[in-house]
C-alpha cells in the first residue's frame, strides 16, 4: 500500500513540474516577443552604467546562441533562482519578490483560513436546511456579496472605516511612529485587519456556494437514508455522515479559492498600500517592468501549484477511496 501511494505522489509531482515548465515556456516566449534588443530593453540603465553586468548577463542567458539553447539556459536559470533583473529597481527580480512574498502571505493565509471556515459553515448550514427561510436568505445574501468586486469592498472599507470613522489606518503596514519606536506587531495587525477582512469577504461566497452544493448532493446519497433507518440522531447524521463526505470536495475548492485570492490581493494591497506582491504588481505594471511582471507570474504559479499539491495531499489522507491513478 505504501509504495502505491508513493507512486501516486510521484505522478503528481511530475505533473506539477510540467505545469511549471509550461509557465516558464510562456514567459520565455513573451520575453522574446518584446521589441528591440533584449538586453537594451531589459535593463537600459544597467547596460549603460554597468557594462560588465551586461556581458555576464549575455553569457548566462546565452543570448548569442541559437534559440533552443537559450530556452534550456533560461529554464536552468529560473530553477537556480536567477529570474532576471527588474527595470525599475535595478535589482534581481528574485530578491525583490522574495522580500515581498512574506507580506502577501501575512494577509493571504489568514484570509484563506477564515473564508474557508466561514464559507464551509454557512454552506453546510444552508445545505442542511435546504429550502428554509435561512437558506434562501443566505443564498440571496451570498449572490449579492459575490457580485461585488473585491476592489469595491476595499474602496468602501477605506472610505468608511478609515477615512470617515477613523477606526483604521489609511494604509501601509505601520504608522509613522515606527520610524522612531520600531515596528510594533500590534500595529502591523491593526493595519492588516482591514485587508484581511476584505480579502476574506470576497472569497466567502464562492466557498459557500460550493459547500452548499456539496451538502445538497451528499444529502441525496443512499447512506444518509441508511443512517436514518438505523435511527441515528439528526445531529449525528450531520456530523458523521453528511459533513464527512460533503467536506471532501471542499479541499480542492479552498485551494482554488486561494488561487483566486492572489488576484484579489493585487487590488486590495494596492488600495491599502500594503507592500506585498499585489502592490508590487501594480507598481511593475505602471512602469511596464516586464521581467518583474514575469517573475510575479511565476511566483503566483508556484503558489497555486503548491496550494493544489497540498490539497491533493490532504485529500489522499482524508478520503480512503483515493488510490493509484485516481484524481482524488
Amino acid at each position: 500500500m505504501k509504495t502505491i501511494k508513493n507512486f501516486y505522489f510521484f505522478k503528481r509531482i511530475v505533473y506539477c513540474a510540467f505545469v511549471f515548465l509550461v509557465s516558464m515556456s510562456i514567459t520565455f516566449v513573451v520575453l522574446h516577443l518584446m521589441p528591440g534588443d533584449f538586453i537594451e530593453s531589459m535593463m537600459p540603465y544597467l547596460a549603460a552604467v554597468h557594462p560588465e553586468f551586461s556581458e555576464t548577463f549575455r553569457e548566462s542567458f546565452g543570448l548569442n546562441r541559437p534559440i533552443t539553447e537559450q530556452y534550456v539556459l533560461y529554464v536552468v536559470n529560473i530553477l537556480q533562482g536567477n529570474w532576471g533583473y527588474s527595470f525599475q529597481y535595478a535589482a534581481p527580480v528574485f530578491d525583490i519578490i522574495a522580500e515581498k512574498v512574506v507580506w502577501t502571505l501575512i494577509i493571504l493565509l489568514p484570509a484563506t483560513v477564515f473564508s474557508a471556515l466561514a464559507g464551509v459553515a454557512t454552506g453546510a448550514y444552508s445545505g442542511w436546511k435546504d429550502g428554509s427561510k435561512i437558506d434562501i436568505s443566505l443564498l440571496n445574501l451570498m449572490v449579492f456579496v459575490g457580485a461585488v468586486p473585491s476592489y469595491w469592498w476595499a474602496i468602501m472599507a477605506i472610505l468608511i472605516f478609515s477615512y470617515s470613522l477613523g477606526l483604521f489606518p489609511l494604509g501601509g503596514i505601520v504608522g509613522l511612529d515606527a520610524l522612531t519606536t520600531g515596528i510594533d506587531p500590534l500595529d502591523v495587525l491593526h493595519h492588516a485587519l482591514l485587508p484581511i477582512i476584505v480579502l476574506t469577504l470576497s472569497s466567502i461566497p464562492g466557498t459557500y456556494y460550493f459547500m452548499r452544493n456539496s451538502m445538497l448532493m451528499t444529502l441525496g446519497e443512499g447512506y444518509i437514508l441508511t443512517a436514518r433507518a438505523k435511527g441515528v440522531r439528526e445531529r449525528d447524521i450531520l456530523r458523521h455522515h453528511a459533513l464527512k463526505n460533503a467536506m471532501l470536495p471542499m479541499i480542492t475548492i479552498v485551494s482554488l479559492q486561494c488561487a483566486s485570492m492572489i488576484t484579489g490581493s493585487i487590488f486590495i494591497e494596492t488600495i491599502f498600500s500594503w507592500p506585498g506582491l499585489g502592490l508590487l504588481t501594480f507598481d511593475a505594471l505602471s512602469a511596464r517592468d516586464l521581467p518583474l511582471l514575469e517573475g510575479i507570474f511565476l511566483i503566483d504559479t508556484l503558489i497555486v501549484i503548491i496550494a493544489n499539491f497540498t490539497a491533493d495531499l490532504l485529500y489522499s489522507v482524508a478520503d480512503p477511496r483515493v488510490q493509484v491513478g485516481s484524481h482524488g
Binding site: 457580485a147 487590488f267 504588481t281
Partner: protein, 277 residues
C-alpha cells in the same frame, strides 16, 4: 425576494446601462474631457458628482465610461462563449483521444493563474479595450470549454444522438443541429456570467493602469483618483461612482444569471419520486 422581480430588476438596470452608453452625448451635461469646472469640486447642482483634479465633470465621464465597460464585458463574453462552445462540443462529441488531449490541455491551462498572465500580456501589448476583451474571451473560453464539454459528453452518449449517427447524419450537422441546441441553456447562462466577470475585470484592469488612455474607462478613473492621493483625502465623489457603477451592473447581471439558471436548469426534483421503485 421573488425571483421574477429580481430578474426583471436586473434586466432593467442592464437596459439602463445600454441606453446610457448609446445616448451618452445627449444625456451628459458636459463633454467628458471638457474642463467644465473648478478642480476637485464637491457634488453640486452644476456638477452632479463633482469634478476631478482636472476640473472635468465626473457624472459625464461616468456615463461615457459605460461604453468601454459594456464593450469589454460583452465582447469578451461572446468570444469566451464562442471558443468554449467550439472546444467543448468538439471534445465532448468526439470523445476518446481528441477529448483526452483537449482536456489535458485545458487542465494545465486552468492551473496557471490567468489574471497575472493577462497582466504580463497587457504590459507587453499595451492593449485597447477590444484587445482586452479578446484576451479575456480567450482565457474564459478555455475555462468554459471544460463545463460545456461535460454536458456534451453526457449528451453524446444518449440514444438520441446515436440514432442520428445511425441515420448517417454528418458529424458537423449533428454537432450544430442536435447538440448545440441542447447545450444552449448552459451556454446562455455562461454568457451572462462571463459578461459579469469580464466587466469587473475590465474595470479592474483599468484601475491597474491598463487600457487605452484616450478611452474613458471607469477603472482608469479610479486609477487617476488613487494616483492623486484621493483616498487619503477622502474624495469620495471621485473614487466612489465608477466602483459603485460597476458593482451595480455586476449585481444586475448576477440577478439575471441566477434567474436564468433557475429557469433553464430545473434542479429541484421531488426526492420521493426517485425512491418510488
Amino acid at each position: 425576494m421573488d425571483r421574477a422581480i429580481v430578474f426583471r430588476a436586473g434586466l432593467a438596470i442592464l437596459m439602463l446601462a445600454f441606453l446610457a452608453a448609446l445616448f451618452a452625448p445627449f444625456i451628459t451635461p458636459y463633454a467628458p474631457d471638457e474642463f467644465s469646472g473648478p478642480p476637485l469640486a464637491r457634488p453640486s447642482a452644476d456638477h452632479l458628482l463633482g469634478t476631478n483634479d482636472l476640473g472635468q465633470d465626473i457624472f459625464s465621464r461616468l456615463i461615457y465610461g459605460t461604453q468601454a465597460t459594456l464593450i469589454i464585458g460583452f465582447l469578451g463574453a461572446f468570444i469566451g462563449v464562442g471558443i468554449g462552445t467550439a472546444v467543448g462540443i468538439v471534445a465532448g462529441y468526439y470523445g476518446g483521444r481528441t477529448d483526452e488531449v483537449i482536456s489535458r490541455f485545458i487542465d494545465v491551462l486552468m492551473t496557471i493563474p490567468t489574471f497575472p498572465l493577462l497582466l504580463v500580456f497587457s504590459a507587453l501589448l499595451s492593449p485597447g479595450i477590444y484587445v482586452i476583451g479578446l484576451m479575456m474571451g480567450v482565457i474564459g473560453g478555455i475555462h468554459s470549454g471544460r463545463v460545456i464539454r461535460s454536458q456534451v459528453l453526457s449528451l453524446a452518449e444518449t440514444n438520441y444522438i446515436l440514432g442520428c449517427r445511425a441515420l448517417g447524419l454528418s458529424d458537423l450537422s449533428i454537432m450544430l443541429r442536435h447538440i448545440l441546441p441542447n447545450a444552449l441553456p448552459l451556454i446562455i447562462v455562461k454568457f451572462v456570467f462571463f459578461a459579469q466577470s469580464f466587466m469587473l475585470m475590465g474595470v479592474g484592469l483599468g484601475f491597474l493602469g491598463i487600457g487605452d488612455a484616450t478611452v474613458i474607462d471607469w477603472g482608469q478613473m479610479i486609477n487617476r483618483a488613487y494616483s492623486s492621493g484621493a483616498f487619503a483625502l477622502g474624495l469620495w465623489w471621485w473614487i466612489g461612482p465608477p466602483g459603485l457603477a460597476v458593482t451595480v451592473l455586476s449585481i444586475a447581471l448576477a440577478m439575471i444569471g441566477f434567474g436564468l439558471e433557475e429557469q433553464l436548469n430545473p434542479r429541484i426534483r421531488h426526492r420521493n419520486l426517485e425512491v418510488a421503485v
